[in-house]
């Protein structure tokens, strides 16, 4: 089977998963207690007002119609082209388009996720490789210890410590927010401030956004790095024991070639898969990080909206998370197939 048909298969296979994911979200949202309409009224409301609201939110329709509308909204490409985001319904709290809200919040989470992922993988792979190379030495124990401890730290605790050290005492970095409000955000092209400011050619903005990004992504990255160190270390250890690594050494190849060109490149494949799986965890961690650092992303959005029982919003955001993770695992699988010639049968 060629790579192309593998990719097609893999994409087709995600369809049932996605459908299931979407349906599950929809169903779960309907059983969440708390009448969103009743919740809407801070102080008082008559039954007529409630009815109006219900109609407004489309909650008067039968469940399956809502379900169809919901699914249709997701695939309505015309709508997407017109608005730049899918039709996820209107927020029950603010009446805004949930799709728009989510698409505006998502880049923040994405940027945080990407940087954390980079930090986590760099720390993880670097330390993991060092650790595996010095197997059973003091250094190895130290690195394992570091990985184990970081995994056990609550994210918000670490975040807080960073805020205190780098924000309050040292005053090096801002304690929160995505960008110093005195600075205009860069024109939105990708929605990722660091990239947009580079595209704009504005280094000042780039450094500003980087400064804001540093603490949150470091927090999340370090917490995650524990798991990454473990993954990298174990896989490296396993790979270093494989025959072809020894065989390569026996052929007199350079140590670095053997470590990086042979062991790491092979160990990287399972690491890649696990990274894909970690993405869901990373996004979960992003919720706490976003709350700690006032990061205007999707995680904070969800927590916000849950308090209002804003079904459509939570539904949309959760779907977005789910889609994103599914997409990531799709990409990971394809990358895997691309890097591993054995998959291309």
């Amino acid at each position: 089977m060629g790579l192309r048909s593998y990719i097609i298969t893999r994409i087709l296979l995600t369809i049932p998963t996605l459908l299931l994911l979407l349906s599950m979200v929809f169903l779960v949202m309907r059983v969440l207690p708390g009448d969103p309409v009743a919740l809407h009224f801070e102080k008082k409301a008559t039954p007529e007002q409630m009815e109006t609201m219900r109609r407004l939110l489309g909650l008067d329709k039968p469940l399956w119609t809502q379900y169809i509308d919901y699914l249709w909204g997701l695939v309505d490409f015309g709508y997407f082209l017109e608005h730049g985001y899918p039709n996820l319904g209107k927020s029950m709290q603010t009446y805004e388009e949930v799709g728009g809200q989510i698409f505006s919040a998502f880049p923040a989470t994405l940027e945080l996720a990407i940087y954390s992922m980079i930090i986590a993988s760099v720390i993880g792979i670097l330390l993991g490789v060092v650790s595996s190379k010095s197997y059973n030495s003091i250094l190895d124990h130290l690195i394992r210890g570091f990985g184990t401890v970081t995994y056990a730290i609550p994210i918000f605790l670490l975040g807080m410590i960073f805020q205190l050290i780098f924000g309050v005492y040292l005053r090096w970095l801002p304690t929160g927010l995505r960008l110093n409000p005195a600075v205009d955000p860069p024109a939105s092209i990708t929605g990722l401030y660091t990239i947009d400011s580079l595209l704009e050619g504005n280094l000042f903005k780039f450094f500003e956004s980087l400064k804001a990004l540093l603490l949150p992504s470091l927090t999340l990255g370090i917490i995650l790095s524990g798991m990454f160190i473990r993954m990298a270390r174990t896989n490296m250890l396993e790979t270093l024991r494989l025959d072809f690594v020894t065989a390569a050494k026996a052929r007199g190849l350079k140590e670095s070639t053997v470590t990086y060109g042979y062991a790491l490149r092979n160990a990287f494949l399972p690491i890649l898969t696990m990274m894909g799986l970690q993405f869901a965890i990373l996004l979960g961690g992003a919720i706490l990080t976003e709350t700690t650092f006032s990061w205007p992303g999707l995680g904070r959005y969800i927590v916000d909206r849950i308090n209002f029982r804003d079904y459509t919003a939570i539904q949309g955001a959760v779907v977005m998370f789910g889609l994103f993770v599914t997409l990531v695992s799709l990409v990971v699988d394809i990358l895997y197939a691309y890097f591993d010639p054995r998959i291309r049968l």
């Binding site: 049932p16 998963t17 299931l20 994911l21 599950m24 779960v28 059983v31 969440l32 207690p33 059973n136 190895d140 124990h141 394992r144 990985g147 184990t148 401890v149 995994y151 056990a152 730290i153 609550p154 994210i155 918000f156 605790l157 807080m160 205190l164 309050v168 524990g226 473990r230 174990t234 250890l237 396993e238 024991r241 799986l277 869901a280 965890i281 990373l282 996004l283 979960g284 961690g285 992003a286 919720i287 706490l288 709350t291 995680g299 969800i302 927590v303 849950i306 939570i314 959760v318 998370f321 789910g322 993770v325 599914t326 695992s329």
Partner: protein, 294 residues
């Protein structure tokens, strides 16, 4: 068998296993360290009612936000509650939540995984599909949504954490069964006419246990951290029970005003509790990794 006897026999079985861990190098020691930390915390929690100096939820037993002193070795918090007593008693909630969630996961995830993988076919496909879909969600999001749905309380928190973790059990059990199912000794059992439940419970399940233990330990650790996270965003237990999660959340609000002790001690405790489990997991998963054994 009397209770004492049962206990003795359990101990008699456990102790050699523990001591055998010491012979397995650093990974064994890591696991032992984890077990020691955990035992210490469990013992502390069990005897806390007798050794705590004050009522952990009584406000105003001391001045507000008193720093650690001989009278209040861990200081007091913003309500004048004694931190030492709270630390001593507060592990109970965390342990309850994590144990309960692990139990629930175990009771649902393991049988489901065993059954699904052994039966195979459409049922297996459907189960895997659902589980994979759940797996695609960020765990904390599900936990938050379900915790919000169920309302606060130990059981509800445990349940919401459990939902996140059931897929892990399912997946590990399933993949293990699928590989063990192909092993020769299972085939040998079939050849001697064993029925499928015998095969599953006598031949497959015992060999899946080590992997489950590894998942369970990490589940424990995550349950602790998730519980703290849920409390942090306001979905925790009520305030009238001592809880490290609450102390941590309170401490976070107090930290900036220089009250370091309200966050430090519960922070350390939660880290220790989670660390106990992660150490065991780290140790065991290396010891049990077939690819690293010679």
């Amino acid at each position: 068998m009397s209770k004492v006897k049962i206990k003795q026999s359990i101990l008699a079985r456990l102790i050699p296993r523990l001591t055998s861990l010491t012979k397995k190098g650093p990974s064994g020691w890591m696991a032992i360290l984890g077990i020691i930390i955990l035992s210490a915390l469990v013992i502390m929690t069990v005897i806390a009612p007798w050794i705590r100096p004050h009522d952990p939820i009584k406000t105003g037993v001391g001045p507000i936000r008193a720093p650690p002193s001989s009278q209040f070795p861990m200081g007091t918090n913003h309500l004048g509650q004694d931190m030492l007593s709270r630390i001593l008693c507060g592990g109970s909630i965390m342990l309850q939540i994590s144990t309960l969630s692990v139990l629930v996961c175990f009771l649902i995830g393991v049988p489901l995984g065993l059954f699904s993988s052994y039966v195979g076919g459409i049922f297996d496909r459907a189960c895997s599909l659902v589980i994979d879909a759940i797996y695609a969600f960020p765990g904390l999001v599900i936990a938050i949504a379900i915790a919000a749905m169920l309302g606060p309380g130990v059981v509800n928190m445990a349940l919401s954490i459990a939902v996140v973790y059931i897929p892990s059990y399912f997946r590990i059990v399933r993949s293990q069964v699928l590989s063990i199912k192909e092993l020769t000794y299972v085939e040998a059992a079939r050849a001697s006419g064993a029925k499928w439940h015998t095969i599953v419970f006598r031949y497959i399940f015992p060999n899946v246990i080590p992997s489950i233990v590894v998942v369970a330990t990490i589940n424990f650790a995550d349950a602790v951290l998730t519980a703290a996270g849920l409390t942090f965003i306001g979905l925790g237990v009520t305030k009238d029970v001592p809880d490290w999660g609450w102390d941590l959340t309170d401490g976070r609000a107090l930290l900036s005003s220089g009250t370091w002790w309200v966050i430090t001690f519960p922070g350390i405790m939660i880290i220790l509790l989670a660390l106990g489990f992660t150490l065991i997991e780290e140790g065991l998963s290396e010891l049990l990794n077939p690819k690293l054994q010679r």
